[in-house]
């Protein structure tokens, strides 16, 4: 028993590790397998799914397996921990299961010219990251995997990176979900600061504490920003349609069945922690409803079938979000059920559209008509998925839609205005019904375009469109079969996946049975109303299109996004130009004015007692004269800086005075070096001076000189105080003692400074010599540069 437990715990780790390792090995395996590399990805996904199935026993027993390592920073609540409760496990099965189907499909979908190995490597990387999101037991781990899904999504959207649109879409998706991810990180940090843990199970157990915490609202808002951006909720929905530039298998997998659902997955994860608060209900449900309506309305405006599906996905995600906001048991059941149902039928629809695109070379619904004649099997499969999406009985979509209506109607007892929710629910569902019919009836029935019957001209050399091979049909068929199976006999899947998932989302086991027929109730009446209204609108769809054209809103989220991005790029460009303006003066001002201010503040805080030394060393008359001369000479350099020759000579005097001063302060080596260097410097100065213009009128105005003098005096005074503060501090010098003691026995010299330079800090001296060498080479290069030019003349 114990051995079995450990085995299943290791399996949990392997669920994520297998796709990851397979992805890393893909480039090598690809060389062996060639174009069959897709089967490698299929195998990896199957293994991941199988490992999950092997865990089913402990999941169903309500004793979820946990695997954790004390890494990377357990002291800060950061450890890699995985667990498979009903919710994560069920979602993981969807990821690995649909992943398997997608890999089979993609193996047949991609043309031979595409870089297959790269495609499947990205896909497996994503799968691993997504499984990490759903199995994480710790919010920090979840966030890391979350960001990895954003990154792999970026790679996959931009897979055809030579296309401008693909780059634009990939960039947009990364920016929006990435910004939301940052908000989520901030939310998790706040949770840790507030609760001292990021462990999801512990937080669930202490849900009351979280809700009572004064930071509850900021935490909620930050986490929800992550959720809404990831799941394309209004007003962040606009990245998803542009993500459709990805190859269709990617759209089906990431941007419909799994990655965009990470947001609603997290809603389900934190549902038992946050539900019940008014803020949770109002924010989540309102955003969900707005998204549901906007998405369904937008779907009808699109002529590109993939864009239509993108908007319909937005709408369905809105529905799920809306339900989680209600925070009731029934709503949790309906939302969780719908997540699974939507994954099945929407992935099926994407794959069907992919087949149509593959065969005809177009996705324009105005051109595509009557394809059932040419592709009967595809038509049937598409019909099943589309009707499931519309919510027609005997299919899975109907069951979750009924639960949705039931939940909406359940609250109407609270007052007449609560009828608003079922009314909007029906509105959204009617629009869903209409676009689902457009996908199925519109594309596969009606008069066939004669161009399509031959070759569309853009098709990929298939001649007349026909049903594709089994490799592309089988995945869709399996998904359609699931829609039917769940729609007619929901029992088995309900017990296997749904029961444990809902129990985890709700926080405790929930008693329910999903029934196809539960009497002539309000939900059924609303379903019938939906179907009739939907049929009428579909029949009159050209009028709807007219209305939509008239209502067209020229100013959308995309306009704001584009303007904001442009503004950001221009703004930072201007800021950089302003700061990096190539003027030494402004650099010095920018750097040193703050130094003066900050040092003044620090010295002011320390107080006079810390600046003024308690006692001064005695001042010999000779030293007073020396320092006095130094001050006078320094000021003289400034005073005569217009008369260059004089200035250079006075500078030499300053250097000489400093050398003598070194000598006085027990530093004979410094005095020697300084004197030598000073002599060479003055010679260099004179050499250059000889070449420069002799008369130099002042370039700066009086005002400029005054301002500069102000800064210079301020800087001088502050530095003067710093020197005093150093003297006042009187720090002990253990390092000096070490060198004194070690100089003779370990360095073999009595002159400690020399021993330090050539022995203890020999590498510093090497660095110093290198700097000199570089300066010399630079100077030489500068001179040579001119020589060559002269030679050419």
């Amino acid at each position: 028993m114990v051995g079995g437990q450990i085995l299943s715990v290791m399996n949990l780790m392997w669920v994520i590790a297998v796709p990851l390792l397979a992805a890393l090995a893909t480039p090598l395996v690809g060389r062996v397998l060639g174009r069959a590399i897709g089967w490698w990805a299929v195998a990896a996904s199957l293994v991941a799914a199988g490992l999950l199935v092997s865990l089913s026993g402990s999941v169903h027993s309500g004793n979820p397996p946990v695997w954790s390592v004390e890494w990377p920073a357990p002291d800060w609540g950061m450890r890699l921990a995985l667990y498979a409760d009903g919710w994560g496990w069920g979602f993981g099965l969807v990821v690995a299961g649909i992943g398997t189907l997608i890999c089979i499909y993609a193996q047949h979908y991609l043309s031979d010219a595409e870089p297959r190995a790269r495609f499947f490597m990205y896909l497996l990387l994503f799968e691993s990251a997504m499984l990490g999101v759903v199995l994480s037991a710790n919010l920090v781990g979840l966030v890391i995997f979350w960001e990895l899904t954003s990154a792999t999504s970026f790679l996959l959207i931009g897979f055809w990176h030579t296309q401008e649109r693909a780059r634009y879409g990939a960039y947009k998706a990364l920016l929006i979900t990435g910004l939301g991810g940052l908000a989520l990180v901030a939310g998790v940090v706040l949770i840790y600061l507030a609760m001292g843990t990021t462990d999801i199970r512990e937080l669930t157990a202490r849900a009351g504490e979280v809700q009572a915490h004064p930071w509850f609202v900021p935490i909620l808002v930050l986490v929800l920003l992550g959720v809404f951006t990831k799941s394309a909720q209004f007003p962040f929905h606009f990245w998803l349609p542009d993500a459709m530039t990805a190859p269709t298998p990617v759209s089906a997998f990431l941007h419909s069945a799994t990655m965009v659902k990470a947001g609603v997955f997290l809603l389900g994860r934190i549902h038992p922690i946050f539900r019940g608060r008014e803020e949770w209900f109002w924010i989540v449900s309102s955003v969900g409803m707005a998204t549901m309506l906007l998405g369904a309305y937008g779907a009808l405006r699109k002529t590109d079938l993939k864009a239509l599906l993108a908007y319909s996905t937005i709408s369905q995600l809105g529905l799920i979000t809306l339900l989680y906001g209600f925070g009731t048991q029934l709503a949790a059941l309906a939302a969780t059920f719908h997540i699974f149902n939507h994954a099945a039928f929407k992935a099926g629809l994407f794959l069907t559209v992919g087949i149509v695109d593959h065969e005809t070379g177009t996705r324009d619904k105005r051109v595509l008509k009557g394809l059932a004649k040419l592709m009967p099997i595809t038509a049937v499969l598409c019909g099943v998925c589309a009707l499931a999406s519309a919510g027609v009985p005997l299919l899975n979509g109907f069951l979750s839609k009924e639960l949705f209506y039931e939940e909406m109607v359940a609250h109407t007892g609270r007052g007449w205005w609560w009828w608003w929710w079922p009314a909007m629910a029906v509105g959204g569902s009617v629009l869903t019904f209409v676009y689902s019919l457009e996908l199925f009836h519109g594309v596969f029935f009606g008069k066939l375009d004669p161009h399509l019957e031959t070759d569309h001209g853009q098709s990929r050399g298939h001649g007349q469109p026909h049903d594709p091979g089994w490799g592309m049909l089988a995945p869709v068929a399996i998904l359609a079969a699931i829609c039917l199976k769940v729609g007619i006999w929901p029992g088995g899947i309900e017990r296997y996946i749904l029961d444990p998932a809902v129990a985890a989302v709700w926080g405790q086991p929930v008693d329910f049975t999903i029934k196809l027929w539960h009497g002539f109730t309000a939900p059924l009446i609303l379903s019938i109303l939906t179907a009739i209204t939907g049929l009428v609108i579909y029949w009159q769809r050209h009028r709807l299109a007219d209305v939509q054209t008239r209502l067209a809103w020229p100013f959308g989220a995309n306009t704001i996004y584009d303007a904001a991005l442009k503004g950001l790029v221009n703004g930072t460009g201007k800021l950089t130009d302003a700061l990096q303006n190539g003027r030494l003066r402004s650099y010095l001002w920018l750097a040193l004015a703050p130094v003066v201010v900050v040092l003044t503040l620090i010295l002011g805080r320390e107080g006079w007692s810390r600046i003024w030394p308690a006692q001064f060393s005695p001042l010999a008359p000779a030293e007073a004269v020396l320092l006095g001369l130094l001050i006078v000479a320094t000021l003289a350099v400034v005073a005569v800086n217009q008369q260059r020759l004089t200035a250079v000579i006075v500078l030499g005097a300053v250097g000489a005075l400093v050398s003598v001063f070194y000598l006085v302060l027990s530093a004979p080596d410094l005095a020697l070096t300084q004197l030598l260097i000073e002599a060479i410097t003055i010679i260099l100065f004179l050499l250059v001076l000889w070449q420069l213009p002799k008369s130099v009128p002042a370039l700066s105005t009086r005002g400029e000189r005054f301002r500069d003098a102000l800064l210079a005096v301020g800087f001088g005074v502050v530095m003067c105080l710093v020197v005093l503060a150093v003297a006042a501090a009187n720090v002990p010098k253990p390092v000096a003692d070490f060198y004194e003691a070690a100089s003779l026995p370990r360095g073999g010299g009595r002159n400690i400074v020399n021993v330090i330079l050539i022995d203890f800090r020999g590498f510093d001296t090497l660095g110093e010599i290198t700097v000199l060498g570089i300066a010399a080479l630079g100077a030489l290069a500068l001179m040579k540069l001119r020589r060559r030019k002269e030679d050419r003349r």
């Binding site: 250079v648 400093v658 302060l665 410097t681 250059v688 005074v717 000096a736 100089s743 400690i752 000199l772």
Partner: protein, 111 residues
């Protein structure tokens, strides 16, 4: 002693900065040289003030000046010279190329 030394170092800093803010290359190099002296004296000051106690191993001596700061300054003097020399050559070459010894970038004059 410390007070006068502080004033001298402060004067070197202020004068160096003022010259670095001028518009001609030679003045900037002059200012840079002054700043070098200022920094070296500041470091020396950190080691404390000693008279007649060079940093030698001599058991008979009453004490010794901090050798570490002196080692640092020795390095700094040499590197300061290297940079000054390079700046001078740069100033000279810039004048030859542009016919002007102004510090500011051409962008300044031709916006």
């Amino acid at each position: 002693m410390e007070l006068l030394m502080a004033i001298a170092i402060g004067t070197l800093f202020g004068a160096g900065l003022y010259l670095c803010l001028r518009r001609r290359t030679l003045q900037v190099v002059l200012g840079f040289a002054l700043l070098g002296h200022a920094v070296n004296l500041l470091i020396l000051n950190m080691g404390g003030i000693r008279h007649g106690q060079p940093p030698l191993v001599n058991p008979a001596a009453a004490g010794y000046a901090d050798p570490l700061v002196q080692a640092l300054i020795l390095t700094a003097i040499v590197i300061g010279f290297g940079v000054t020399a390079f700046l001078l050559v740069l100033a000279y070459r810039a004048y030859q190329e542009t016919g002007s010894d102004e510090v500011n970038s051409p962008r300044d004059k031709h916006p």
